[in-house]
Structure formats: structure tokens, C-alpha cells
């Protein structure tokens, strides 16, 4: 949660565009990453992220603060937008049939080539997970979102999220061929 978030939200609800602009600046990168990891396409991630914030701005008056950060609400919108995207896309194209370059990590990542390849490898492994597992991996291990916020974002209980993150990590390690003995699972709660 960013500083003064409640006031920014109240101002945005009253139609203050600069207040919503501040919320956009704070949360847009994480929503973009969330969508990018799930879709694998920069263009699609940009389009969907735009739609997420457009929908948020147009419907911010219906936002009800229920003790969760504003980002939980944005993640919920993003999840729905991605689901809609895949629903529309499924009949058009098979993701595996695409050129690997299509899934290239954006050049804004200033890591070396090996790191880029590693990121892309992990991203493609995440893509093979179930959508709920993808959400948990992204929120808990990439964005370091709390259990409570993750539970609110994906509409599960905290206990269910704990279980899901454990299973998701195991499955991800299995896909990547990483042995648990060599890479012991670390619960981010303890980090």
C-alpha cells in the first residue's frame, strides 16, 4: 500500500484525475508484469494493462474499501481481463505455435543475456501452470504481495493460498527440472 492511498482513492472517486494518475504511476508496473508473465506478449500486456486501468478509472466510484489495498482490486480486474483475453484468443491461435521471439523479455530488463534467457525460461514454465497457480507465483514470489492481499486478489482464503503456493512451487520446480534437494523451497513468509 502506498502512502496516502486512502486519500488518493477518495479523491479519485470524486473524479480527481491527478489522484488517479498517482495511483496509476504506483501500480501500473506491477499490473503490467502480472499480465506480461501470464500472456507472454509485450503488446498484449500493454493492451490489457491499459484496459485494466481504464476500467478501474471508469468504475472507481463503485470501489468499496474492505480493508484490502487498492492493488487487490486492480489484480482482480487484471485477472478478469486476462481470462477474457484467453477466452477470445483460444480459438484464434495456439500459443505453442508462436515464434519464441514473440515471448521475448522486454529490452528494458537490464540484465545480461544469460539472465534474460533464464527469466524467459522460468516465465514459460510459469505459463504451463494452472491460472490460479500462476497468480499465486506472480503475486507471492515476484511481487512479494502479502498472503492476505493475495487471498483478496484471487478470492481464496489465506490457508488456501498457502497450500496453493506450495503446490505451485513444487510444480514449477518439476517443470524446470530443479531438484528440491538442491533448491530447497523457501516460504516467502519467512523471508
Amino acid at each position: 500500500m502506498i502512502d496516502g492511498e486512502e486519500k488518493l482513492i477518495k479523491d479519485a472517486i470524486r473524479g480527481n484525475s491527478s489522484a488517479f494518475g498517482a495511483l496509476y504511476d504506483s501500480y501500473q508496473p506491477m499490473i503490467y508484469r502480472f499480465v506480461l508473465v501470464k500472456t507472454g506478449s509485450r503488446e498484449e500486456a500493454e493492451d490489457i494493462t491499459h484496459q485494466v486501468f481504464l476500467s478501474a478509472w471508469q468504475n472507481v466510484r463503485t470501489y468499496k474499501h474492505r480493508g484490502h489495498p487498492f492493488s487487490s482490486w486492480l489484480y482482480q480486474i487484471a485477472r478478469n481481463q486476462v481470462i477474457d483475453f484467453y477466452r477470445a484468443k483460444k480459438s484464434d491461435i495456439a500459443l505453442d505455435a508462436l515464434d519464441p521471439e514473440y515471448f521475448a523479455v522486454p529490452t528494458t530488463v537490464s540484465a545480461d543475456l544469460a539472465a534474460k534467457l533464464e527469466i524467459e525460461k522460468v516465465r514459460r514454465a510459469i505459463e504451463q501452470l494452472k491460472p490460479d497457480y500462476q497468480d499465486v507465483i506472480i503475486l507471492r514470489f515476484i511481487e512479494d504481495v502479502s498472503l492476505k492481499e493475495t487471498a483478496a486478489a484471487i478470492g481464496k482464503t489465506e490457508g488456501a493460498v498457502k497450500l496453493m503456493q506450495h503446490r505451485a512451487m513444487k510444480e514449477l520446480q518439476k517443470i524446470l527440472g530443479v531438484h528440491e534437494a538442491n533448491e530447497p523451497f523457501r516460504n516467502p513468509q519467512t523471508i
Partner: protein, 164 residues
């Protein structure tokens, strides 16, 4: 491969700055959706509006009533109109009209005989003549007979003659 470290590396992914700026401008240029009205809120608004109108009407009646009662506002009177004179004049008008004073315009038949004389049907002419023989005469004299002729023939008699 340290999976957790690699996952943390994802945080370095950032959207293109020009895209972010363009997207933000486009979003903030659009209008927000109006708040959807719940049925309860709609009923409440209807009651509020109705109460406001009723209250306004009540106060208008109260204010105008108070003014007229206090004598500040009296009905408008014109000096050229003599209300008492008009009333007396209206009372003096004799409204009694007698039927005998009524006169028919020239050319209108006032008796069955005269009507029969104008009719082209011989059957009708004869039947009408049978009904009122004293009234049947030359067509020119029919108009001269008074309305008394009409009083001698009842409708039943005329219909009976026609059926024969």
C-alpha cells in the same frame, strides 16, 4: 538455478515509459461512469423529490392565503365597470319566451300538408292528406296555415296512416 532469485529478477521488468505516459493520458481523458442507482436509492430519491414539491406547494398556498387574509392583496377592480349596475341590468332582463312568438323563416314547411305537397311521392302525399284533410290545399296556401294544423295530428295517427 536459484528459482527464487530468478523470480525476483522479474521485478526489473518495467513497461515502456512512453507507452505508460500515453496510456495514462488516454485513460484520464475519458469520463468516469456514473454511479449505478440501486432500487432503494431510487425510491428514496422519489420520496425526497415528492416531499420537496409538496412542501413548496404548501408554502405557496400558505403565503398567498396569508396575504389575501391580511388585505394587502385584494381583487383587482376597474373603475369603468359598474358591478352593481350590471347586476341590476341582468336582473331586469325578461327571459320568458313563448312558443307562439316563434316564427319560421319563409319557405319552410310548417305543416304535414305543406310537406306532403312538396313531396314527390304520391303515396306519401295521399297518406298525409288522409291524416289532415282540412290542411290539404293548394301548395301555395299551405304556408299560410298556422302551426295549429300540427297540433291536430299525433305521431301515432301519422304512422298508422303511413302503414295503411
Amino acid at each position: 538455478m536459484n528459482l527464487f532469485e530468478t523470480l525476483r529478477q522479474f521485478k526489473r521488468i518495467r513497461p515502456d515509459a512512453s507507452y505508460a505516459d500515453h496510456s495514462k493520458r488516454a485513460i484520464l481523458a475519458t469520463a468516469q461512469n456514473p454511479v449505478p442507482m440501486s432500487p432503494f436509492r431510487g425510491i428514496l430519491q422519489f420520496i425526497e423529490t415528492g416531499a420537496a414539491v409538496a412542501l413548496a406547494g404548501f408554502f405557496i398556498l400558505l403565503i398567498t392565503g396569508a396575504f389575501s387574509n391580511s388585505g394587502y392583496i385584494t381583487p383587482v377592480q376597474y373603475s369603468v365597470i359598474d358591478a352593481a349596475g350590471i347586476h341590476a341590468e341582468a336582473q331586469a332582463i325578461d327571459m320568458q319566451i313563448e312558443l307562439s312568438h316563434l316564427s319560421y323563416p319563409d319557405g319552410i314547411a310548417t305543416s304535414p300538408a305543406a310537406f306532403a305537397s312538396r313531396s314527390t311521392s304520391t303515396a306519401l302525399r295521399s297518406s298525409m292528406a288522409a291524416v289532415s284533410p282540412q290542411a290539404v290545399g293548394p301548395a301555395g296556401t299551405a304556408g299560410a296555415s298556422s302551426t295549429a294544423a300540427t297540433t291536430t295530428v299525433s305521431v301515432d295517427q301519422a304512422l298508422g296512416a303511413l302503414s295503411q
